[in-house]
Subunit: 222 residues, 2 copies
DNA sequence: CCTGGATTTTAAGGTTAATTTGAGGTTACT
DNA sequence: AGTAACCTCAAATTAACCTTAAAATCCAGG
């Protein structure tokens, strides 16, 4: 699911754009000013920023975001069509679209940026974990540190992520990860579950991400 | 020096744009059709492509370039303002600008793409290495000496730089650099990683630039 | 609410597999 | 022919993985 942070003060346009983007399957967080965006930018895949805003203008906000986070694409939106404005916007942002625009064009330009920034993969938020499935990256949102998994641990976790909310039997898990039949009574899987928990759980002794379903197997809930 | 390949059949516009870009310090190769571009695309930093061309249209040319060379930015130029045209263009290209446009806006958009594709004379600092991304000149900041890479090493390192922070599987790396399928168990890649480490790492026995992700592959972090 | 068997978790050491390293051989270019 | 780059292969090293056993937990029946 692609997460968009959209900052726009005009209610009519804001509502219309948000609605349109949601219909196209994006997750949209619409804010009416640049205040308090910091708590969102770390969880978001792209920022759409209107230039004319009450208080701090969009250019300043965009420049600050880029300074702190170069890997986050920014698309500027503006009614100002003057070349000077475009130049200022494009000096730091990744695209500049003038109003009025067709929502499909906005979506197409969003897709270009997501493609280019490798953000069009699934970014999954699981409690304190941010998971970039394409980059094989897992970040602990509390410490900001990346969690390093070994091969088996990674494939095991991936299997859970592909089957979110499903109860997975030990057979399914073992066969899905190891590619060979599970032998009743084998503890290998359980031990690897532990290794994984040790790395991803806040408190490995009281796991909340990978739950145990006694007598059956395990589950990871969204 | 940034090299631009510009394909435009209309002589007036072509001359005007070429002139403008040259004044801004770009090296411009202007062609009036898509024929014979192959000999240039490997030496060029960005392609500017008009949609309406005699013979093969700009969309087809752009798609082919992207298929063969994903790391070359393409900016589409067109008098067609219909959303459908923009959507088709943006489905593969990296920007779409409608005529008439201000030459400064074109230049600004070119700069955005060069920045994003690391084609401008960006300098990347990786620990003790200073890397001029455009020509991939690597200087060891401690000795002040330039590090010379061989062909394979050069492509391999470039692949890492284009995918900074991503964990790259051995398959991805092998296929990205050698262009042929990776055979399970082949050690060739690993040996080249070693050659590369020997040249770029401070202590090749304890590499800090190219990290090993056991069971998966390698990664270079920014 | 206590107890005992079943199940899961934990810990540690041994085994195995992946990676690194070294050296020799092949190929391609001048 | 000579050199540099590249590839191949086997030995050494390292870290992941598996096995085992003991401890902890859960759940049903008394």
């Amino acid at each position: 699911m692609v997460h968009i942070l959209y900052i726009e003060d005009e209610k009519d346009i804001g509502k219309w754009v948000t609605q349109n983007l949601k219909e196209k399957g994006y997750q949209v967080k619409w804010m009416q000013s640049g205040e308090g965006i910091d708590q969102y930018i770390s969880t978001v895949d792209i920022v759409i920023l209107d230039v004319m805003l009450p208080g701090l203008d969009g250019f300043s906000i965009g420049k600050r975001i880029k300074r702190e986070n170069k890997d986050l694409p920014i698309l500027m939106l503006s009614a100002r069509t003057a070349v000077e404005d475009k130049l200022e916007g494009l000096s730091f942002a990744d695209d500049y679209l003038t109003k009025p625009f067709h929502p499909d064009e906005l979506a197409a330009r969003i897709e270009v940026l997501l493609r280019r920034f490798n953000k069009n993969d699934n970014i999954l938020q699981l409690q304190h974990l941010t998971i970039h499935t394409k980059d094989l990256q897992i970040v602990n949102q509390e410490t900001g540190e990346e969690i390093q998994l070994t091969g088996k641990q990674y494939y095991l976790f991936q299997y859970f992520l592909r089957h979110l909310n499903q109860i997975l039997t030990k057979e399914q898990l073992y066969e899905g990860v190891w590619g060979e039949p599970y032998i009743e009574g084998d503890k290998t899987l359980m031990v690897h579950i532990r290794y994984l928990r040790e790395k991803i759980e806040k408190d490995p002794a009281n796991p909340t991400i990978i739950e145990t379903i006694r007598g059956i197997g395990y589950r990871v809930k969204k």
